[in-house]
Symmetry: C2
């Protein structure tokens, strides 16, 4: 007897024979951590049963030892012990996920002014006497203003710092390190001389949260880390998150707490990694799309989900860390970059202050690829922006063998035009130099999918309308289990999941839908802006630096452009957040940019559908795609 | 067999025969609430046993019914059931205290500008559309600034208000009432048209907390209420409170919570009395001495208790109500008036902005009588201030039959110079017009004590050095249980406590110590200020308006002054708090006054002790007291 097992958030699932959940996970390519090899001794393969709890074998003695009472109540099981006796939906928590995320660095060095909102000053004061009975705060202010002439007398002190002031000044024998925010508010006082000060920039994506620990004294990035957004269990895209808030009384409270917990997990990991105290982290800059912005701030996002998509607040927001429950210094500041409009969030503003298209004369197209795609077009005169629902296909989700950019993922594909045999590059494989190579491949990540589709199109396997050609007869092209054609990218012998990894007709369709949304959005912006070509294209996104820009051009993800003028800049939203953390000038710039951007609601444009359907095709040999034509012309016949 | 029973916070205690605590309370004049007459059916006579819990009879069935399990754990008993079998120290909670406080009103009408920090604005907005997709906050700001031209665009919004903004604007169909603080920060948003706005001024004394609910739209005082400061169980004066914080790890946390709970009790009672929601109370102004200031704000007060008495902060402080745990509107503001120096607190600043001595040319002496006395001297050119430990005698505490100014208290005394028979006025007695009067007298309050001592001095019963004259032979003068002389003010037949009420030699000594401290403080200020007489004297204090100014002059509570130029103004600290609540101009004035005042540390003055001992005597027929001499001359021989 077989049953259906699905692992979230990867979505990897299918029919499996009876056995443990760990066996099922290996069969289905869901990568579970199990250092003990399934002996039930390491406790690493914890999964949470979301559905079908009673379709599993009863709790084993081993599990009672390895799981906490809370975990047992919360339906956690050890995958190596729990045997399937029916259909099961299991959630794999981050720590049980064997595939550690690859953090992408930006290739580009960015120059910036080191001018953080946080500054630290050292002062020595005279002890109070019966003649000099100034209060502690006045004494401190006087010492600051007389030692640092640029500081003004109207400095205030955060209430929670005031509470500790008398004891700290005396503990340091009237020598103290004072942390100021914007040179106006005292947010920390420490005894003696302390120079350490840190900040964290966080890019909160719908799927992934990336955080960067920065030394505010030097501007150095000390450590980066990332985490899957725990909310993915409530749906892949922002609309499903908004719906969850609307359908459940405690929906917002629950999603809000999840994101705060996730950020706190990252804060703790970063602080531990470089052995610093969270008390010395004084500021965080957050960037996110508007739905994540609202949920993170605990604001009801329901009005973002319906016409006219009005957000609660566009202005940048500063909130005390304690008010949000974020565990940096209690009086630390949380700065949220400004929002543009409904579906164009602070993350796009962040991309813009990193890429700076508004500082040049040439016409630039900026595409930020994520579960939700953001597109900006313009130059110093005028900038337009829009947002389009690309879906998660370009990030590897909703693709039969799709996965995150993690070890085991196919990230590059070349297909021989004659033999149709593929050459693949797998993340992490070069670090395992076994000859012959061990079965290692687990799936395909976003850049691999884009490469594969482009190569299949160039080789004629896929026709301009996206359908597999019926004229070809090669071993790699076959009929899939859904009765539709598919292409075998890796034979089972080479995979770690014991089955062939394929690109299906359905996968190609998903890529077509995603790229058509981006293309149509760009086209409408170009029409609005009155241009029929762009001078340069910038591809941003958490995996943007890994995209093969030629493949992206060939499948028609954006209007035609000279290959030389296309650049992939990596996670530009994270870059912008770091810049805003380290340079307050960038916060002013962000505010100006948010106001400068003209938002175009593509859903309201009458010709959006036409553009969208036109863009579904692959742009084969058309006059309007000279650069694509050039690439296609170079293919040997 | 007899045992010692003491009731706190009145301090009323002594040897009693075995019996119930209720019987003991009646014998000792501690006024316990017992409407059922001790039948064990009303549950009103709850007391908390602080010491000697096991010296009481076991818990009666009746008590198990009337007390909650928490109360039983906390050592609460019903005084009518618990029988003494040994020494007991019992605390009488406010609600069991039969003597309800008399709230004194100020006689003086004060003119002020109605200009509170809180203002309310009504706006109507256009609904968002696809063309007008402004965010909610921008929409609201635009409506405010276009309807009210004095408002600027840099208005901010409190984080906890932002959370509710989207739903409230839609609930009110884009019509809303906006509450602004200082016209710069939105601290409340309500759907539709709401004009109600309230504030509370609170005078936090060492012994009593008085609160005034004000209508911020009209400036009217809607209701006043007061409560005993729960901290009195930890000592009468600020030094004992500071010691408690120093000696106990959780001392500050405990005292802080008590005061916050007390204020919240008053807030709830005031709101209920006039049937308003605490959500419509948007601001509180707090005044207090420096120790109460620190404890209320949860700041360690230990450095106030030792040389050089440095306070943590002198500046006025604004704190969000939620950060202090005060239950008015969550985003409401708590404004604390500025502090002058160690033992001269915001309450004295408050007295000053009510009395305004710094606005005139004449030399004015302001005395604020409380457990801690504050003295100010000067005019528009220069103002000095000091603080002196008067002790609680002038408030009726530490006096054998002393009590608060409550029904049953002797508040006025006249003694016939020939017969030495007294004529007494008792608070509340005129409201019980029984003929013959029921035994009603329970004790003596501060003004009665001052009257009694002044009259005994004028009649020659007390000599200038404070000792009872040994030459007189009258039935009212006798030897007390301590072997020292005493004067019977009321025979047992007229008292509700079944015993004679007397003024003892020890009572006279306590008054001498208190008035000498005030007198010596004033003298040192006069010397510092270079004057040998004052033009006017203002007597402030919670019972200040009830003091017979002639009696105060006769006992030498302050340097000689023409009786016509002495005024009693009542609770001026509470007045100043109300003014600061209703007129922000007064807050600026308070800040200027706090900086303008020159603090004199009397403890540091070498001749303080000399002045103090000199002032112990009653000022009989000396050349330097012409006005007192005049009063004494009028007494028939």
């Amino acid at each position: 007897m077989q049953c259906t097992v699905i692992f979230q958030p990867s979505g990897r699932g299918g029919l499996v024979s009876r056995g443990t959940l760990l066996q099922a996970s290996r069969k289905l390519g869901a990568d579970l951590e199990a250092p003990c090899g399934g002996a039930g001794t390491c406790g690493k393969c914890k999964v949470k049963i979301e559905e079908g709890f009673f379709n599993l074998s009863p709790l084993a003695e081993q599990e009672k030892l390895m799981l906490t009472p809370e975990e047992i109540v919360d339906h956690f099981r050890l995958a190596c012990c729990a045997k399937t006796e029916g259909d099961v939906l299991a959630f794999v928590p981050e720590q049980s996920n064997g595939a550690k995320q690859v953090i992408l660095e930006t290739s580009k060095e960015r120059a910036f002014n080191l001018n953080p909102a946080i500054k630290k000053y050292y002062v020595e004061m005279k002890k109070p006497t019966l003649e000099d009975y100034r209060d502690d705060f006045t004494r401190l202010k006087d010492a600051l203003t007389s030692n640092y002439s640029h500081l003004k007398d109207d400095i205030s002190i955060d209430y929670s710092v005031l509470l500790k002031l008398p004891n700290i000044l005396r503990k340091g024998n009237w020598k103290a390190a004072i942390t100021l925010w914007h040179d106006t508010e005292i947010i920390a006082v420490e005894p003696g001389r302390v120079e350490k000060m840190y900040g964290i920039a966080v890019d909160i994506g719908t799927t992934t949260i990336a955080a960067y620990l920065c030394d505010l004294a030097t501007g150095n990035i000390l450590k980066r880390d990332s985490l899957m957004n725990s909310q993915v269990r409530y749906g892949d895209d922002v609309i499903s998150r908004i719906s969850y808030c609307m359908m459940n009384d405690d929906g917002l409270a629950r999603l809000h707490k999840m994101i705060i917990d996730d950020i706190n997990t990252l804060v703790a990991r970063l602080a531990q990694a470089v052995a610093i105290s969270h008390e010395n982290i004084y500021e965080m800059v957050l960037v996110f799309n508007t739905a994540m912005h609202h949920i993170t701030l605990n604001i009801d996002p329901q009005y973002l989900g319906c016409v006219p998509f009005a957000s609660a607040i566009r202005d940048p927001v500063n909130i005390k860390a304690r008010d949000l429950g974020l565990k940096i210094a209690r009086s630390g500041n949380i700065h949220c970059l400004p929002v543009e409009a409904g579906f164009v969030g602070a993350d796009n503003v962040s991309v813009l202050i990193a890429v700076e298209p508004y500082k040049q004369e040439k016409m630039m197209l900026v595409i930020d690829i994520g579960t939700n795609g953001e597109i900006d077009l313009g130059n110093a005169d005028c900038m337009l922006s829009t947002s389009c629902a690309t879906g998660p296909a370009l990030e590897g989700a909703q693709i039969k063998f799709g996965m995150r950019a993690a070890p085991g993922a196919i990230e590059r594909v070349k297909i021989n035009q004659c033999s149709l045999e593929p050459e693949i590059k797998v993340i992490g494989e070069e670090e395992c130099p076994d000859t012959p190579p061990k079965p290692y491949v687990k799936g395909i990540c976003g850049s691999g999918i884009i490469d594969a589709v482009a190569e299949l199109f160039k080789a004629g396997v896929i026709q301009p309308d996206g359908r597999f050609s019926k004229k070809l007869n090669f071993p790699r092209i076959r009929q899939g289990s859904d009765g539709k054609p598919e292409y075998v990218l890796a034979w089972a012998a080479r995979t770690a999941i014991g089955q062939d990894i394929t690109i299906t007709q359905k996968d190609v369709r998903a890529v077509q839908l995603a790229k058509a949304a981006l293309y149509a959005g760009a086209k409408i912006l170009m029409k609005k802006r009155g241009v029929n070509k762009v001078d340069s294209v910038v591809l941003a996104g958490a995996f943007g630096s890994y995209i093969n820009k030629e493949s992206a051009l060939v499948i028609g993800m954006f209007p035609d452009c000279d290959l030389e003028n296309i650049t992939a800049v990596g996670n530009a939203a994270g870059e912008g957040a770091k810049l805003a953390l380290l340079d307050t000038g960038k916060r002013l710039e962000a505010r100006e940019v948010a106001a400068f951007m003209q938002f175009v609601e593509t859903a309201a444009e009458p010709d959006f559908q036409t553009h969208f359907y036109d863009a579904m095709c692959f742009p084969h040999a058309r006059d309007s795609f000279p650069h694509i034509q050039q690439i296609l012309d170079e293919i040997p016949a």
